[in-house]
Symmetry: D2
């Protein structure tokens, strides 16, 4: 199977370039009878949209979603749900320079080598505009998970550049996250992060950061033992997002320094006599299967590659040149990354829920 | 598709439990005409085998591989290659205690909840013995990649507990790696690591660590733009290995602290006039597609969950109890993890090579 | 994977209902560098379009295709090609009766039982309008196969009701097929078929028939040994088309009556010294793999289920009732079925060509 | 995905050649908690086994199945079930002639062209011995379908050469089928068929025939609307069996001659007030989804290609030659084909049951 589909039972197939006719996706395998409207989806898309705050790109993009199929009288019918947003007002002229010059740390060079040609307008298929389809499909999955299973997916920004916020995966709320444009629930750190972004933007430079994402209320039993471990699929989902360089679940890279006796999560019985883990270094997954504890993981985003500072590079005709981005770009993608990370989380959980229900009859 | 297969064009399907009849896998999609023998495979399996040195478990396991199909007169025929190792000398009695007690940070509890029953002997399907199939299949992929494309996959241990070695991804050799039982090419650090493992084992405790893996000589163009980015598939491959908690490519989590101007890899022309990157924070992948630079990434392994120290836990009949592992287990899985990480790397690259060749006709 | 995708390497994902926003599909895995325009696709769609002749439904449907992505400056880029036709002028009111009444031999009852609800407007997803996406995607595959491999796919109507034409699979041409509205290259039989259709339509009844399809110039080697035999995938492709009840390749059901000595196709050497079969009861496939001979097969279509004659049926509230279709429907789908059968043939061959090229490097 | 796997949720991956180490398969996705033993599987295999009666080949083959994994204390665990039969007593010498000579209407030529080499011993992967894996896996699916859903799958031989038996799909029993070695429930026709086979075998020639297969008690709702129609998957399953040239469901090719008013199956209400069809030309599937009526279809098998009569052919070094099979082969594969057709039916139904349960939560 080619690589523009994701998921096995709840499967999305994505299409579209930055400056083609449209971007969108087809969801195949959605359970019938889910109430869904364009408004449900638009709400999540607006969190991803460029131009939503001072610290994101002021570029205007149309993110207005249409449901083309698979929904009848407000409910999913079980047939494919096609979601599409037209591309409007795309000023290709702004990108003329990209036609012949390989932007450093972008996909221009590798696309051209792989395919022999590339749609250079706005990066074509490598544009982050592609994530619109992920967020749209994720909104459908998320609604199902919330309504049918009570699953709550909440992500936030926990690091920008060198500024790190300590955030407990079990307690921060979406309201706290949405309270600041940087989407960091620690208000003090949030202010510092915003100031840092402002400063770096003024230098014509950019910043990276980390998204912490959590899924609370996930039932025990989702995921499969070997290759399709729940966290392996989360890893793929996250690392497939533009600009992501790393993924860690639970204790992650820092857990490496602990001894087994410190790292293991002892089982205990809670007040209701149910099995619980007294710590959660595992991050909510044991042996690839959800344990009923909060799932939490961190996703590392590199600093935005498109910067206004001048950089050395080469052209497709193999000449040395320099490049400095024109126009205004995101100095830091982190706030817009939160809904994308959440959406991919919803897609993975939804897929594994349907798979689990199919195999075992549970749910 | 259920979760015991990996890869789309070079596809392995794995089977087997720790104490069932056999473990093995079926490789489907292997190119015809590759010369392969059981010896080629056994060589890699011996690096994964328990009991190979003082710092691994002294447990004896039969890792003798048989090729059951798909090879005729020493060459692959293009039909499925079934690889199998019988399970011998399995002393289930040693595991009686696991029957009713959930080992902390193991899969006993989640398997039982998911499936309603579990093969408790040696952890069943959750046993690391499953990785034998990965290494066996990886040996086939690796041979193809080396012989047909000149790809060289070399991994090593770069961290054990709190001990970190600085290793340049471009230069360390397999000979250096194999020179010490800990598989760390930095001889001084290797000694310290071994001492640390010895000490912690004597405490009845365990250690985690990090594997650094590199693939050199990978041609430009492997990987796909959106979901099946080359490093997304590497992330899934690695995080699907038992005990893995994190994955990072190139600059990874530490790259987050750099600014864009520091992190970007400028393009330049080399002596032959070919396009190269003058730095490699990307880790050899741009926009999901191999760039021709060395691919390198790090994989975090948690400390071994099975320890001799006493731990709190509960039974399947919901009673509190304690557990202390009997017998001898790996105090640190890192040295045995290196061939597993390398094998999964080979499977991902092989799969993407065949996919690329199919779509574009290149190669 | 849910069931709205077809193909493994050249993979289409279809969406859309008769009266929703649009119908279309996403092609994933198309080789880059293929020149394709909307005109190339429209040409095939016009052969499938309702209202193209006196013997098809006079219903007007918009089949105007848009390429939304994956094509840049007239060439495929290797990224997903989204194709879409808006649904216009749909008069749902015509279908009000279908809301509560199960049309005999239609999918109304089974959809409602499976999903708990159904989009009853025009049959929703079960409408033959879905085949628009197949023909559109098939046009892309077909162009590649013709230009790069010299493959020629030609189908025709060989039977309508009880009228059968004897047609040699190796020689009839597309020009002959397109010369009559019934798409039967035997002119005499064609006239009889048209008269028969006229008569049966006037009775308010309908007819079935058989499409004979051929693929000439297919290189030796496409297809796989066991489950994905080339003709097994053709069988699935054809039987997945609305109204199809049977598939046979080569000698088919009538070959059953021959003895082995009569049925076997002896090998011989042609003038160039190449291996050829002196007869072709096989239908161009041996052991699941194309042999280089003409591939030919027959597809049985049942008489159109929608008829103006009154029929007994029941309602969704479990009451007996009768139903007589209003408006004008196809009295015989055969002429419009030809381009659909050809399109599915192109999709199967294209998929197997890319798979073969990936595994073996041939091509 | 390469072509040696079948099914999406209940997925089998098959391996093995006629004269390699073993043949077998891995079942992935089986529900946990199904009681299964080697005896359950062996019973079906014995119906497929060579040498079971006077009208099949007297060749001895070991069909003794081993369960290598996925079953613990007599129950499936939800992890992969590996099934294997060793190849014993294979006398490769008998096949020396096949090394250089292409058997007419066999896969020797196409395999060699596709892969560049072939395992010529007994036909390698193209041998009918491959169907052993299908029957073994089918036995597991069948047991689940029977025990959990009450589905009854019964096939029979309805035609041998020119001899046709009229058999009602709703009433014939397995006991009647197993009562004669030809597996035709019409005793009079059965005798004639056996005499015909005896006569043709004595001529050194072979016969084809038709298997009629039925599935009774299949719940409404299995199958998907577009590409994965239930009968499309049945078509693929059947046509993928060695020697199959055609598939038809319900009225099939003969239904083509009826008018719509004759062919349509009116809905009615049965005594319980349930919706039923008063005729079943559909063959139990409407719009790709099971309707609750008996599913029945016919599968055409060509006459066995291996015959003792002398035939013209060529060698791999492109010389003309003749070939007459030595040893004893099946003069007619039909009786042994019945369990294979039934097994494939079970695999398709099982897969669609799990898919349906996953998407809708029904079942």
């Amino acid at each position: 199977m080619p690589g523009n589909s994701f998921g096995k039972q709840f499967r999305i197939t994505s299409f579209g370039e930055s400056h083609g006719g449209a971007v969108g996706c087809v969801i195949d395998g959605c359970p019938p009878g889910l109430e869904i409207t364009e408004k449900d989806i638009q709400e999540e898309l607006d969190r991803r949209r460029p131009g939503q705050s001072d610290i994101t790109t002021p570029r205007k993009e149309s993110d207005t979603i249409e449901i083309l199929s698979g929904v009848f009288e407000g409910q999913t019918t079980g047939t494919p749900i096609a979601l599409m947003a037209n591309n409007k007002d795309a000023r290709s002229a702004d990108y003329e320079e990209m036609k012949d010059t390989y932007r450093p740390s972008h996909a221009d060079y590798t696309y051209e080598q792989k395919y022999g040609l590339r749609d250079w307008r706005g990066g074509g298929r490598s544009s982050a505009r592609e994530t619109l389809a992920r967020v749209a499909a994720g909104a459908v999955a998320r609604k199902f998970l919330r309504e049918k299973l009570g699953v709550d997916i909440v992500g936030c920004v926990s690091q920008v550049g060198t500024l790190t916020a300590e955030i407990c995966p079990d307690t921060f709320t979406r309201a706290e996250v949405e309270a600041t444009p940087i989407r960091c629930p620690d208000k003090t750190k949030a202010k510092e992060m915003i100031s840092l972004i402002d400063a770096v933007r003024d230098e014509g430079d950019s910043l990276g950061g980390v998204v912490l994402c959590t899924a609370r209320g996930v039932p025990v039993g989702l995921g499969e033992p070997v290759f399709d471990k729940l966290h392996a699929d989360l890893a793929k989902a996250m690392v497939s997002i533009n600009a992501v360089k790393g993924f860690e679940i639970g204790s992650g890279f820092s857990g490496v320094s602990l001894k087994g006796s410190e790292h293991n999560d002892p089982f205990e019985l809670d007040d209701k006599g149910d099995v619980r883990a007294s710590t959660n270094n595992a991050g909510g997954v044991l042996g690839g299967i959800s344990s009923g504890e909060t799932i939490y993981f961190r996703v590392a985003f590199k600093p935005t590659s498109t910067i206004q500072k001048e950089q050395s590079t080469v052209t497709s005709t193999k000449k040395k040149t320099t490049l400095a981005a024109k126009g205004r770009h995101d100095p830091c993608v982190l706030p817009r990354a939160v809904p994308i990370v959440e959406a991919m989380t919803a897609l993975v959980l939804m897929d594994h829920y349907l798979r689990h229900r199919g195999q075992t009859g549970d749910g």
